[in-house]
Amino acid sequence: MATVQDFSGYTPTWCPGCGDWGIGVAVKTAFSQMGLDPSSLAVVFGIGCSGNMNDFLNAYAIHALHGRAIPNAIGIKIARHNLPVLAIVGDGDCYGEGGNHLVHACRGNHDITVIVHDNGVYGLTTGQVAPTAQKGFKSKSTPGGIIEIPINPLALTITSGATFVAQSFAGDANFTIEMIKLGMKHKGFSLINILQPCVTFNKINTYQYYLQHIYRLPPEYQKNSFTAAVNKAVEMNQEKFPLGVVYESDRPSFTDSIPQLKEKTLFERERFENLESFYPEFL
């Protein structure tokens, strides 16, 4: 069985204290605990501090373009639906630049796990505001405070058709490991929004801030209820952040709905030789 060490590449270059450290450890630990090794899965990284995990994590990977990790991951899954496929992305990456892809990946119930580092800022470009920043957040690009209200990633994905939506906190590695494992085990589109303090550029949403605003969903919470999930999700608009599996439902995944992928993966099947069978259409 592969260990956490087997998944470890370069030493991360994240700032000391950055929430990404916790996420990085959680991702590797989850893979190891699931019995995977670096050759048995595919990971697509977005661009940003989160995406820089490309060099710190050993796996078959694409370090994608900003915002485009999800369609890359969908393509890998269509070709090799027996491989676990993940997209490790940032909030600006996934909810800003690539927002359209997120919505449609939910609709398609593509069987990929999207792990979002949600820190409210663009860290790698030195702290401009991200789509998850609270209204009024002051940054270099919004010196007067952001006019827009924050995107609600949980409500957006639940109502767009995602079949697994969870939230975690980078400061709680064990809980994050559990959420990643549950998301990966889920058949269909899974999103794990991880609240992640950016110690360098976000002086509002700090570890202390999150500890005051997060709470774990109680055991009696009905994660299969769409209405309950939406109600939970919109609590974020009041800066109350539920942690846990907010929503889970069962719907055939994209590749499971394609008849030609029933027997074998697209990669493994034999070459189609009977070109002539299409000729009658042209006669």
Partner: protein
């Protein structure tokens, strides 16, 4: 030599194009060759649609101006196209709607009355028109009836017979009332089987032949029929076709699948291609094989969606930020589309870089007869070449971006046990980790650039020379202008003027050494392009130093008439 043009026109939304295709199939089954061209506005109902079908007893690649048979399903068809009629032209019309005025052969067919008497739907006007046309051409209904059986057979015999009735009504009306106008123009010829296909259909077949396993697209005229054709075939051939949310998702889905080891392609037109550009650069630096089909239409922006232009050549060649190798192919007809479409997938795999196949509305949506022997030969000759794609690395220490003499490194299919690597959009070391160091950066830039030299030595095809090699008058063109220029050469030859024609299909990269011998001094070179800025002329000058001063350009959204090219020489 038989050479006649049949044209049908009517209101958009009533099956005009389908009717033209049925007509072309009948003619091909009769043993003749066809080439057709569609004109339609960018709307679904109410505009004016026409299709011109050129018929010949030898291969035909372009239309001609005079219309021999004009079938008017409405008055507009006559009004818009009457200047193309001659005294021997036959005009089929419904006298209850209008009676055309002028010197030509008139055949009145009471379409509306036949529909009413037999309780037919408006769309069945087309079937009446086909019956009437076949009678006027001296043909019988046998082939049309067979086609109707093939088309409606699943719906049962009553439906088949109902449709046949309208063909019969149109046919017998002409037979009975216009026997003196009927000429036996197209006696049955025993020629080999021919398939009637559009450029888009040719690319679809090429993709299946090449073992493309994923096609991703967002609908955009004039590329959309590849999406719909391949979607309709997928359960049979096992391909997966994804209609994604936008063109950015389209190309990134394909790149993901290509990384995972399957052949993948995308298709679009200029606007969608513009959205893909950043990702073309991603494929370039990650060295991921990808085939991009670009069907040009007149821009800028939304432009004229259903018309034709060769306006995106330089855009395609320069697409993508940064410097990386790219191969651009421009087929000139359906046969070249089949051949180069399939070749594109091999080139993408061998060079691990984007390959763009440039078409345009004229080539994508026109139909041409393709001899069955051509397809059989292509299929027999085609080999899937995956170059240095491997499932196990040669060396125990695998380096995804290893610097090599030909610029190409082994591409390991993900999943091989004991290995891993990244397709890295950042500049990277040989082992695929990110780097910003000067030395490795320089080495990787040079490695990628080397692929151009390898391609020019190994797979590049020089232009083809058509006509009289020694002629002092030389046409120069690329892509879809081929058909009209070849036809213009025939017209000129009949008038006693020999010409040569240099046609390019492998348009980028090029090099001076290979191209210069095609352009000896002391000849008159005429560059023919379907755009306003002579884009290929600029490219040729930039890549080879050859500067063609004389240009024949057309940029009104219409293809060249061969007559206009021939007359230009006067």
């Amino acid at each position: 030599m038989t050479k006649l043009l049949w044209k049908i026109g009517g209101e958009a939304g009533f099956g005009i194009v389908t009717t033209g295709q049925v007509f072309a199939k009948i003619i091909n089954r009769q043993g003749y060759y066809t080439f057709d061209y569609i004109q339609y506005p960018s709307l679904i109902r109410g505009g004016h649609n026409t299709i011109d079908v050129m018929v010949s007893d030898e291969e035909v690649t372009a239309l001609k101006k005079p219309v021999d048979f004009l079938v008017c399903l409405n008055k507009d068809t006559f009004e818009f196209h009457k200047e193309r009629l001659t005294p021997t032209s036959v005009v089929i019309f419904d006298p209850t709607e209008f009676t055309p005025d002028g010197e030509f052969v008139k055949i009145a067919v009471p379409f509306a009355e036949i529909l009413k008497t037999n309780e037919g739907q408006t769309v069945m006007k087309n079937t009446i028109a086909l019956g009437a046309s076949l009678a006027a051409l001296g043909l019988d209904l046998e082939i049309l009836n067979t086609l109707l059986e093939e088309q409606f057979g699943k719906k049962g015999e009553p439906v088949v017979n109902f449709n046949k009735k309208f063909a019969e009504e149109g046919f017998s009306h002409v037979k009975k009332n216009y026997s003196q106008s009927i000429k036996q123009l197209l006696p049955k010829k025993e020629t080999g089987q021919k398939l009637v296909m559009s450029g888009n259909e040719a690319f679809s077949l090429a993709s299946v032949l090449a073992d493309c396993r994923l096609y991703v697209a967002y609908p955009m005229t004039p590329s959309s029929t590849i999406l719909t054709v391949l979607a309709s075939w997928q359960e049979k051939n096992g391909m997966v076709v994804r209609h994604a949310e936008d063109e950015i998702s389209v190309i990134n889905t394909a790149i993901g699948a290509a990384f995972a080891g399957v052949r993948a392609s995308v298709g679009t037109s200029g606007g969608g291609f513009a959205l893909m550009v950043e990702s073309i650069s991603l494929a370039g630096v990650t060295e991921t094989p990808i085939v991009i089909f670009l069907a040009e239409r007149p821009g800028p922006a939304t432009g004229m969606p259903t018309w034709t232009e060769q306006g995106d050549l330089l855009f395609a060649i320069h697409a993508g930020h940064g410097e990386f190798p790219k191969i651009v192919l421009a087929p000139g007809d359906m046969e070249e589309m089949l051949e180069l479409g399939a070749k594109a997938y091999n080139l993408a795999d061998v060079y691990q870089t984007p390959v763009i196949v440039v078409s345009d509305m004229l080539l994508s949506e026109s139909h041409k007869s393709v001899p069955r022997e051509f397809l059989d030969r292509l299929k027999a000759d085609y080999k899937v070449e995956r170059g240095k794609t491997v499932s196990t690395p040669t060396d125990t220490k695998y380096l995804r971006y290893k610097v090599t003499d030909d610029g190409i490194s082994e591409r390991l299919i993900p999943g091989a046990k004991g290995f891993f690597y990244q397709a890295n959009s950042y500049e990277h070391l040989e082992d695929s980790h990110t780097t910003e160091e000067a030395g490795p950066r320089t080495a990787q830039v040079e490695k990628r650039n080397k692929k151009n030299q390898t391609y020019l030595k190994t797979h590049f095809q020089p232009p083809k020379l058509y006509g009289a090699k020694d002629s002092k008058t030389v046409f120069v063109g690329w892509g879809s202008v081929k058909g009209a220029i070849l036809d213009a050469q025939k017209i000129l030859k009949l008038k006693g003027q020999e010409t040569a024609f240099v046609h390019f299909t492998h348009v980028y990269p090029m090099n001076e050494e290979i191209i210069k011998p095609f352009f000896p001094e002391g000849k008159r070179y005429i560059l023919v392009e379907n755009n306003s800025q002579a884009q290929f002329g600029k490219l040729l000058r930039a890549e080879t130093g050859i500067d063609i001063k004389e240009k024949l350009l057309r940029y009104d959204g219409r293809p060249f008439w061969s007559e206009d090219i021939a007359n230009y020489l006067k």
